[in-house]
C-alpha cells in the first residue's frame, strides 16, 4: 500500500471533504497562497477558489465568530487556527458561543464547525507556540476533541470531524506534522469514528494510555521493555479525548492490572488526570498497583534543547515509572 505522511493526510482529508460537500469552506490565516503554515494544504485555493479557501486578517475572534455565524446558517466551516496557543485569542467563541448555543437555544441549532490547530512541544518554539491544551478544552461541554498520533488516523478522523454536526477541535502535533513517520494509507476513502480508541500494541502486563507524539515513545518503550526485561506493554491511543473510549481502557486494565497515562500536558487539570480518575472510579478492583501519570511539569514550555527536552515526558521516565509499579 502507498505511504503518506501526516501533512499529506491532512491535505487529502481537507481536499476530499471540500470536493464532497460544497457547503464546506476553509477560513483562517495563511490558508491561501501559503497553503498552510507547513504547506499542508498546498494549492487548495486554486482548486476551490478564494471564496472557499479564505485567507483572513489576523483576527482570531472574528475568524471563529464568523465560522459560528456561517455554521448556524447552513455552511460547514473549517477554521484553521494555526497554533493551539492562539485559541486563547478567541476563547470566548470556544467557551461561550460555539459550545453553548445549541444548549442555550433548546437544541434547535446545529454547529458543524471544525477547528484545527498545531499543538505540542519539540520544535524549540517556547511557551506560546508549544502547548497541549486538550485538558483545558475537555472541561467545556459541547466540544469534541481529536488528537491523532499518525497519518492514517489523522486522515480518517479529520474527515469524520468535518462531517460532524458539533464543534470539533482537531489537534495536529507539530512534530508529527513536521517530520512524523509515514503511514500506510489506502487510496480509497475511509472514515474513523470519533470515540473509538486504537490498541497500537497488545500486551499483558501494563496498560499505557498515550496520545499524539507520546504514542511513538510509548511504542519504543514497549519494544525496549519487551527485549530487555520481557515486560509486555499494551499501548492504547484514545485518538479522541472527547468522546473518550473508556471501555477499551477499562478492558485493558482488567487484563493487565496496571495503568500508566503518558501524555504531553502539564499534569494539573490534564486529560491524563481524567483517565486516572475514571479508572480509579470504575476499575479500582482490577488494579494491582497505583495508577501513574507521566506528563510534563506544571511550567510553561521552555525554550531551547536542554530545557525543552527535560520538559517533554520521555521514554526513560515512562520506563522508570513502569519499573516502579511492577
Amino acid at each position: 500500500m502507498r505511504e503518506i505522511n501526516f501533512r499529506q493526510a491532512i491535505g487529502e482529508a481537507l481536499d476530499e471533504e471540500m470536493a464532497r460537500d460544497p457547503t464546506t469552506f476553509i477560513i483562517g490565516e495563511d490558508v491561501g497562497k501559503m497553503g498552510g503554515l507547513m504547506g499542508e494544504i498546498g494549492g487548495l485555493y486554486l482548486k476551490y477558489g478564494t471564496d472557499r479557501v479564505r485567507d483572513t486578517p489576523l483576527s482570531e475572534a472574528a475568524i471563529l465568530g464568523a465560522a459560528i455565524g456561517a455554521a448556524i446558517t447552513g455552511l460547514r466551516p473549517i477554521a484553521r487556527m494555526r497554533f493551539a496557543d492562539f485559541l486563547g485569542v478567541a476563547w470566548d467563541e470556544i467557551m461561550n458561543q460555539m459550545t453553548k448555543m445549541k444548549y442555550m437555544f433548546g437544541g434547535k441549532i446545529k454547529m458543524p464547525l471544525t477547528m484545527d490547530a498545531l499543538c505540542g512541544a519539540g520544535r524549540r518554539s517556547a511557551a506560546q507556540h508549544s502547548q497541549s491544551i486538550e485538558g483545558m478544552m475537555m472541561h467545556i461541554p459541547g466540544l469534541k476533541i481529536v488528537l491523532p498520533s499518525n497519518a492514517y488516523d489523522a486522515k480518517g478522523l479529520l474527515k469524520t470531524a468535518i462531517r460532524d454536526d458539533n464543534p470539533v477541535i482537531f489537534f495536529e502535533h507539530k512534530l508529527l506534522m513536521w517530520a512524523g513517520p509515514k503511514s500506510e494509507v489506502p487510496e480509497e476513502e475511509y472514515l474513523i469514528p470519533l470515540g473509538r480508541a486504537d490498541i497500537k500494541r497488545e500486551g499483558t502486563d501494563v496498560t499505557v494510555v498515550a496520545t499524539a507524539a507520546m504514542v511513538t515513545r510509548a511504542l519504543n518503550a514497549a519494544e525496549r521493555l519487551h527485549k530487555e526485561k520481557g515486560i509486555s506493554l499494551e499501548v492504547i491511543d484514545p485518538r479522541t479525548i472527547v468522546p473518550f473510549d473508556k471501555e477499551t481502557v477499562l478492558n485493558s486494565v482488567k487484563k493487565t492490572g496496571h495503568l500508566v497515562v503518558f501524555t504531553e500536558e502539564c499534569q494539573t487539570g490534564s486529560f491524563a488526570g481524567e483517565v486516572a480518575a475514571i479508572v480509579a472510579d470504575e476499575g479500582f478492583d482490577y488494579l494491582d498497583a497505583p495508577i501513574k501519570r507521566v506528563n510534563a511539569p506544571d511550567t510553561p514550555v521552555p525554550y531551547g534543547i536542554i530545557l525543552e527536552d527535560y520538559w517533554i515526558p520521555s521514554e526513560a521516565k515512562l520506563i522508570k515509572t513502569i519499573n516502579e509499579i511492577l
Partner: protein, 319 residues
Amino acid sequence: MAIQKEKLLWMFRTMVRIRRFEERVVREFADGNIPGSVHVYIGEEAVATGAIAHLKKEDYIMSTHRGHGHLIAKGGETDKMMAELFAKKTGYCLGKGGSMHIANLDIGMLGAAGIVGSGIPIATGAGLSAKMRGTDQVTLSFFGDGASNIGRFHEAINLASVWSLPVVYICENNLWAVSVPTSTSLNIPNIADRAAGYGIPGVVVDGMDVLAVYEAAGEAVARARKGQGPTLIEAKTYRFRGHFEGDSGTYRPQEEIDRWKKRDPIDLYREKLLEMKVLTRKQAEEIDKEALAEMDKAIKFALESPFPEPEETLENVYT
C-alpha cells in the same frame, strides 16, 4: 421616503407591543415569576422597530442581552418568549436559555448573546454565509455602546468591510455601559465615526425617532442587499430603567433621565402619526388595548405551561 400606511402602523403596533411586553416582564420579575436577571428594552423600542421594519423573514438578526424588542420586531411570538423567561418547557429554548439567550432560527433570529460584543462576529459570519450561498439575505447586528469598545467590534466590522458582506451594524448607544458613561469610555463624539477606520459609511441617527431610524436603516439594508457592503449605524437612545431589573441606576443623573423620558419614542411617534393623519387617538388606544390583551395571554400561557423535567438538563449538549 414614502412609507406605506401599513408599514407605519406596523411600526407603531410593534413599539407598543414591545413596551407592553417589557412592562409585564418588569412586573413578573418583581413578583418572582422570572428567575435570573432581565434587561428590558423600554425607551429603545424605536431602534429595533425602525431597523427590522426593512427585513424579510429569511433575513437575520443577531441580538444582545437586551434582546426582547429585537425578537418581537422580527416576529417572535410573545407567549413562547414569556414562557422562556418563566423557564418553562414551552419557551423558545425549552427553558434552557432564559431572557439573555432567546433564539429562533426559523424566523432568522440567530440568538442573543450574554457576553457583550460576542454577537458582532457571529453576525459577520451570517453575512458571509449569505454571500457564499448567493442569497440576498441581510443580517442586522445589534449591540450597545459598551460593545463598541470590545476588540471584536473592530475585528468583525473590518472583516465584513474587506469582504463586502451584507451586514448592518447597529449600535444602540444608550450612553451607559452598566454604570460607565460614554463620556469616560469614548474620546470621540460619535461611535459611528469609527466607520471611517473601516472604509464604510457611518451614520448617526436619533434613536428615539423611529422614522429617522427607518430611513437610515433603509439605506443601509438596500446597500447590503445590493452587495455594496456593510454600514455602521449609531442610534442615540436611552434605557429608561436600570441596566438590569433590580439595578436602581443611581449612577445616572436624574436630570438626564427626565430629559430623555420627555422624548419617549412611542409618544413622539404617536403624535407624529396623528399629525400625519395615519392614526386616530381611538385607533391608538385600540392598538394599545390589543397589546395589553396579547400580554395577558402570554402571561397566562407562561404560568400554565409545565416546567421541564429535571433530567432534561442532560439533553441538547450535542447533536
